[in-house]
């Protein structure tokens, strides 16, 4: 075995070192295949091949028919979709201004704002949930402050669909801000100054210069948020209403309380189908990015 020339590292010589590269990725690829891909395929297969009343295993759609004929299950799916879509939209509305500020503002305050925006990353969701109950729950800190200001009490979002929604938005702010910030790095100061020189206002700069370059990042940020929110467990479990449930707690309950593995897996497969759509967005944009570089 000969040592490869150093220039290989920067890729001047194409098509060499491919084997080493493959070996390097082999471990994660095998792990993903074994621990993720194989269980998914096996799960999907078990939902289609189930024993009937006499114990004979045959092709069936009965758990899917049950899910889509059962108002309770459908209500859970709608709640999950509602939470996911609304969360995604709110996240972009909240995070885009923060990211823009962090990209273009200068000074010490920026560092504090960045620290504050990244802070939720370090708070476990179980801690967040109980803090939420103390602050936004009935007779929580907010109520006490409102009361001190002689304002009426608010209807607490705790144990309503808005509870997990607020928690999830807070929880996903850091990742969304970081992805958008990375995307904004691709917008050069020069192009913005050039636009200003020809008389573009702030809105026009945002709309015609920044957003077109940021589309990909927004898509990636949205995909990450959607994937995380769809599979969220702790926040909907602790902060959400008893019914309808989000898919995470619903699956767990079906599996652990009702010992009903076929229906729990069916719920998982249905969730997976929704998630895969956003996963594909992400993969597509990554591939597009890499093609753009080569």
């Amino acid at each position: 075995m000969s040592l490869a020339p150093a220039s290989d590292i920067v890729g001047t010589k194409k098509q060499s070192g491919g084997l080493i590269g493959l070996l390097l990725v082999a471990v994660p690829v095998v792990l993903v295949g074994w621990m993720v891909i194989y269980p998914i395929i096996s799960a999907v297969v078990t939902t289609f091949w189930q024993p009937d009343a006499s114990g004979v295993v045959s092709f069936t759609l009965k758990t899917y028919q049950f899910f889509f004929a059962d108002d309770y299950s459908l209500a859970n799916l709608y709640l999950t979709l509602w939470t996911t879509v609304l969360c995604g939209v709110i996240l972009l509305v909240v995070c885009l201004p923060i990211a823009l500020y962090l990209r273009f503002a200068k000074g010490r305050l920026t560092a504090y704002v960045q620290g504050l925006a990244i802070f939720p990353l370090f708070v476990p969701s179980i801690v967040l949930s109980y803090a939420f109950i103390r602050v936004l729950g009935p007779n929580g800190m907010l109520d006490i402050l409102l009361n001190a200001a002689h304002l009426p009490k608010i209807r607490s979002p705790y144990l309503t669909p808005w509870g997990p929604l607020i928690g999830l938005v807070w929880d996903h702010i850091p990742l969304t801000v970081l992805i958008l910030l990375a995307g904004l790095g691709a917008v050069s100061d020069a192009s913005i100054e050039a636009a200003r020189d020809v008389g573009a206002g702030r809105i026009r700069v945002l709309w015609n210069i920044i957003l077109p370059r940021l589309g990909n990042s927004i898509l990636v940020a949205a995909s990450f948020a959607v994937l995380g929110i769809f599979s969220a467990f702790t926040l909907p479990y602790i902060l959400g209403p008893a019914a309808p449930e989000m898919m995470g707690p619903f699956m767990q309950r079906t599996f652990r309380d009702l010992y009903d593995a076929p229906n729990a897996i069916t719920q998982a497969v249905i969730s997976f189908v929704f998630c895969i759509a956003f996963g594909l967005f992400y993969v597509r944009s990554v591939v597009k990015n890499q093609r753009g570089r080569s």
């Binding site: 009935p138 209807r155 607490s156 144990l159 008893a242 449930e245 309950r253 009702l258």
Partner: protein
């Protein structure tokens, strides 16, 4: 190698490293196993073990957490197998056990019959805890009602289920219970409502008598009570997702009353999570369900006599009082045999009956039935 067989052999290899290294039972070392939670092991480590070892020089207790019921059953099965082979079971005491398990153990005579062992404290045992003589208790826990005495005077607290329903309806928004599968406090409140709807007749609910049609009919009657109650709960039908969250709402003053585990509420009061002004009350017509924890002693253990002595020791007034003060549990002996001071302090909690609702198929039916029937049928936008 097939994936399955690989997994099995890898799992076995990993498991081997966790086995006790050629453990042999020692004379004067009581090998103790539990299925209970960490707070119980802590209680044994900090209270019972030092006291018993001080009282019996040369004797040690080897406390081992078997994890859960399934883990404890594995050790019991080992003792049963050792019995057949006339070998050393390396186990002397099972905490949180059930003599009917593993199947066949009782018939094989694996467990000591305590009625024949002349325990000095045997006569003090709470009659409510009476079970087969191989099961002996030393602590219990029950769901009761915890309430804020600053909003509801202790003497006005409901004493029957009908009173409770009337109080909840008269004070809308002041009561909340947790989802029945997420914690025993709400779970046993729901079960108490089912019992109420079926004439408080415990004999209708046995571990092996659930069937889809008659069982469903019995549960439907309970759902009717709970659905009727929903609009009067906090936020017109909100349900917390666990015992702790209910206690948190009570401590924040968001509600006036919750169902809560006796041990959890007593330790919450002790730790200051709930204020001293928290009142605790049990229904007198039929208590909220709960249960006693049982111990068993294998007949073939090397230290059988010491294990029986240990069981007698934990029924002494000293340990039984500590169960109330340190653990927040119920004593296994009648309340007459704990100190007078404690007896008077907890007078309102002393149960006249502790109903036990069966698990098995009933569990699944109650939990899923509640989600489908009670939880969604509320228009909370009103």
């Amino acid at each position: 190698m097939k994936r399955r067989s690989f997994m099995i052999s890898a799992g076995a290899a990993a498991g081997m490293t966790m086995l006790p290294k050629m453990a042999f039972a020692d004379a004067n070392r009581i090998d103790w196993y539990t299925s209970s939670d960490q707070n119980i092991t802590d209680f044994w480590t900090n209270i019972i073990k030092p006291k018993f070892e001080a009282a019996n020089p040369g004797v040690t207790i080897n406390l081992v957490d078997a994890g859960d019921s399934a883990g404890l059953q594995a050790i019991e099965a080992r003792a049963l197998a050792a019995m057949a082979g006339k070998q050393d079971p390396q186990a002397d005491f099972f905490e949180g056990a059930e003599a009917r398990l593993p199947p066949g153990a009782l018939q094989a005579g694996l467990y000591v019959d305590f009625s024949k062992e002349n325990l000095s404290n045997y006569s003090k045992l709470n009659p409510l805890a009476a079970d087969i003589p191989q099961n002996i208790t030393y602590r219990g826990s029950q769901v009761l009602l915890a309430f804020d005495t600053t909003k509801l005077a202790a003497d006005k607290a409901p004493k029957t289920f009908a009173d409770l329903i009337a109080w909840i309806k008269a004070n809308p928004g002041q009561f909340i219970y947790n989802r029945p599968d997420k914690g025993g406090s709400g779970g046993n409140f729901v079960r108490r409502a089912i019992l109420e709807a079926n004439g408080r007749d415990l004999s209708q609910f046995k571990i092996d008598n659930y069937d889809a049609t008659t069982g469903e009919a019995k549960l439907q009657k309970g759902w009717a009570i709970l659905k009727d109650l929903a609009p009067s709960l906090m936020d017109q039908g909100a349900y917390t997702s666990g015992n702790t969250q209910s206690i948190q709402l009570l401590s924040q003053g968001a509600v006036t009353m919750i169902p809560a585990w006796s041990d959890q509420s007593l330790s919450a009061i002790k730790q200051g999570v709930l204020p001293d002004s928290t009142g605790l009350v049990q229904l007198t017509d039929l208590g909220l369900p709960g249960g006693f924890t049982y111990n068993t002693v294998p007949t073939n253990g090397l230290n059988k006599a010491l294990a029986i002595k240990l069981q007698d020791f934990i029924l002494s007034e000293e340990i039984q009082s500590a169960i109330i003060t340190e653990l927040g549990g119920f004593p296994g002996v009648s309340w007459d045999y704990v100190s007078k001071e404690l007896h008077d302090k907890y007078q309102n909690l002393i149960p006249t009956s502790i109903p036990v609702f069966p698990g098995g198929d009933w569990d699944k039916a109650v939990n899923d039935g509640w989600y489908r029937n009670v939880a969604p049928n509320v228009d909370r936008t009103k």
